[in-house]
Every structure is written in structure tokens, then in C-alpha cells.
Amino acid sequence: MSLFGDLTASLMDFIRRLGAMGLFLGRILAAIPVSLRRFRLHVRQLWFIGAMSLTIIMVSGLFVGLVLGLQYYTALSQFGASGALGTLTALSLYRELSPVVAALLFSGRAGTAITAEIGLMRSTQQIEAMEMMAVDPIRYVVAPRFLAATLAMPLLCVVFSALAIMGAHWSAVLWLGLDNGIYWSSMVGSVDFASDLLAGVFKALVFGVLIALIAVFQGFTAQPTGEGVAYATTRTVIHSAIAVLAFDFILTAFLM
């Protein structure tokens, strides 16, 4: 009986947090137009959240591409179908790997930083200080980070894809000797700009919203202690990963 009670309690807690997050999203969206007047804040956040994530995204993209080239070449050449390597690489990257892997990396690199920063502001009572001065922290702390993370994600996803395509070119064409023309022309023949490439970028945009919302929400509602910030940062990574993978399934099922 108590197990059932625990389950109900944790389910209710989950629904309560989900509702709180939804209301928080509403507050952020309402604050964005006013916060855009302080455009510098947004540019600075896009720099910290987006441009500073480029290194890990580019290096990871390159290695993912290198591995894809090797693996697909080994698997496909068994069937004499190594000509399909370009198609397979591009489709798996655009539709699935780039948005998901870039989102997981992004939540680890930028989501945690957002949570820790806002959580620290909360624990050092900077947020309360802003509220005391009638400065809306949502407007000047939360909204710029949310918007920057949302916009950075699709851009990082495309950069990831580009580096991975070059990585696969490197391992499959330059190293294993697949024909250069076949590699590119097999992509051109079967990859659609809108339903493959743009659909993947749209996925990345959705993941960006999810990660941004989870990160700012966890930071904003963190317990104002060192331990509380640590827990909030951990939860950001876990919740983002689950949300990204779950929404990936939903988006793939309904959109692609």
C-alpha cells in the first residue's frame, strides 16, 4: 500500500514540476520581447553558450564522421554496396545522429553551465537582490540564456553534420579508397534538402528549447546551497538526456 502511495506521490510531484516548468516557459516567453531591448546581453550569452561550445561539437563531429566512415565501409563492402556509404552516412547524420549527439553534448557543455551560473546567483542571493531592486531576473538573467541556447542548438547541429561529413570523407575516401565521386553523388541522389536536412535542424531546434528550459528552470529553482546547485546541475544533464531522447522518438514518429 505504501509503495502505491509512494508511486502516486512521485507521479504527482512529477506532474507538479512539469506544470511549474510550463508556467516558467510562459514567463520566459513573455519576458523575451522586453529583454531583447538589452541586445548586448543576448549577444554575450550566444557567445558563451553557442560559440564556446563549437570546439567540443566540431571535434566530436569529426570523430563521429570518421567512425561512421569506417563502420559503414566494413559493413557495406560485405554486400558490395559500399557505393551507398555516402547516402547512409548523410541520412543517419542529418536525421538522427547530429541533432541527438549534438544535443547531448550541448546539455553537458552549456546546459550545466547555465544551471550552475543561475544556481550560484540564487545561492549567493543575487536573484533576490535583483527582485528587491525591482529588476526582473527572468528578463535579464533567464530570458537571454534561454534564447541563446535555443538558437545555438540548430547552428551547432549543422556544424556537427558538416564536420562529420568531412570526417566520413576522410576515413572512407582518403583512407579506405572509396571513390570520391560516388561518395558525394550518392548523397546528392537520395538526400532531400527539406525532409532530411531541414527536418534534422528542426529537431535540433526543439532539443534546444528543451535543454534551455530544463537548464534555466533547474538553476532558477535550485536549493540555495552548494549541494543544491550540485544536484540541480546533475538533474539538468539527466533530464535533458531523457527529454531529448524521448522527444527524438516522438518527432521521428510524427514528422519523418
Binding site: R40, V43, R44, L46, W47, G50, A51, L54, F79, G80, A81, S82, G83, A84, G86, T87, A90, Y94, A152, P154, L155, L156, V158, V159, S161, A162, I165, G181, I182, W184, S185, S186, M187, V188, G189, S190, V191, D192, F193, D196, L197, V201
Partner: protein, 163 residues
């Protein structure tokens, strides 16, 4: 102030890099790459069966891609598939007795159109039609022939051998 300026430049570069990557992928790896206007001429061919040939499939001569399939339509009167090819202007000297075949790259790969050059001194011009075409080989038909044994191609050989 100078620090602010460098943030802005860096952020701008980040956005430009993102869009440059999108343009690179779109023009090099998707169907948008196929739209190269001009610099090509059209050739037509009729096939009784095109198999899984798709628009924008490559046209190859001696294995080198020299063009792409522009359109595939059905001639309602003759019930033939009419395939229009875009061939690069650089390869304007195709003999007019060249033949066309539809092949598959690898076992599972995409289908493409292969040109086998003939020996005629006359060349094909814009809008001309290939006289000799060989349809796509249907795997199911081949299997069917093997299963039923004596029918199809095998029977001809068998009877000519007996007589």
C-alpha cells in the same frame, strides 16, 4: 568596451559559420546540388522498363558521371517510359549510335544510366533520342526464369541445341 566588441565579432562569426555549414551541406550533399542550370543539353531515350531509376540519378560514360536524369514520363500512346537526360556540354560529342543501359551501382545501390559509345561519326545534338536502349534488369524476372527453368532465355538455347 573592446571586450564587448570582440564578443560581438565572435558571435557574428559563430552565426556565419552555422549558416555556411548549412549552405555547404545543402549544395554538396542534398538534392539542391542537382540544380545546375545551363551548361548542359538534353537527350531522350525510351525504355520498356526503367526499374527503380529516379530523377536526378547519375548518367555515366565509362563510369564517369557526365550528367543526370532530368525527368521520367510515360508515353501514353506507345506505353514506353521516356527518360530525359541532362548531359554536360563538355561531353557534346556522343556518337549517335551510342546505346543506353540502366544499371545498379553495387548490389543494393542506386540505379544509374550508363552510355556505351558507338562508332558513328555523327554526334547526338540537343533533344535527340537514343536509338538503342537496354531496360533495367529486374531481379524478380531473372529469379523467375531460373525457377521455371526451361522458359524464357533458356528455352531458345535448348531448342537451337536440339535441332
Amino acid at each position: 568596451m573592446a571586450a564587448n566588441r570582440s564578443f560581438e565579432i565572435g558571435t557574428g562569426l559563430f552565426i556565419v559559420l552555422g549558416f555556411a555549414a548549412l549552405v555547404f551541406l545543402a549544395t554538396q550533399t542534398t538534392n539542391l546540388a542537382g540544380y545546375r542550370v545551363g551548361e548542359s543539353y538534353a537527350l531522350k531515350a525510351r525504355f520498356t522498363n526503367i526499374g527503380q531509376l529516379k530523377e536526378r540519378a547519375p548518367v555515366k560514360l565509362a563510369g564517369v558521371t557526365i550528367g543526370s536524369v532530368r525527368s521520367i514520363t510515360l508515353d501514353g500512346a506507345v506505353l514506353d517510359a521516356v527518360v530525359t537526360l541532362d548531359v554536360d556540354r563538355r561531353f557534346a560529342e556522343l556518337p549517335d549510335d551510342s546505346s543506353l543501359s540502366i544499371y545498379t551501382s553495387g548490389l543494393l545501390g542506386d540505379q544509374y544510366v550508363a552510355i556505351k559509345p558507338g562508332g558513328s561519326p555523327e554526334f547526338l545534338g540537343d533533344g535527340d533520342e537514343f536509338m538503342l536502349t537496354e531496360s533495367s534488369v529486374q531481379l524478380e524476372e531473372l529469379i523467375g526464369k531460373y525457377l521455371v527453368g526451361g522458359e524464357g532465355g533458356n528455352r531458345d538455347q535448348g531448342t537451337s541445341g536440339n535441332e
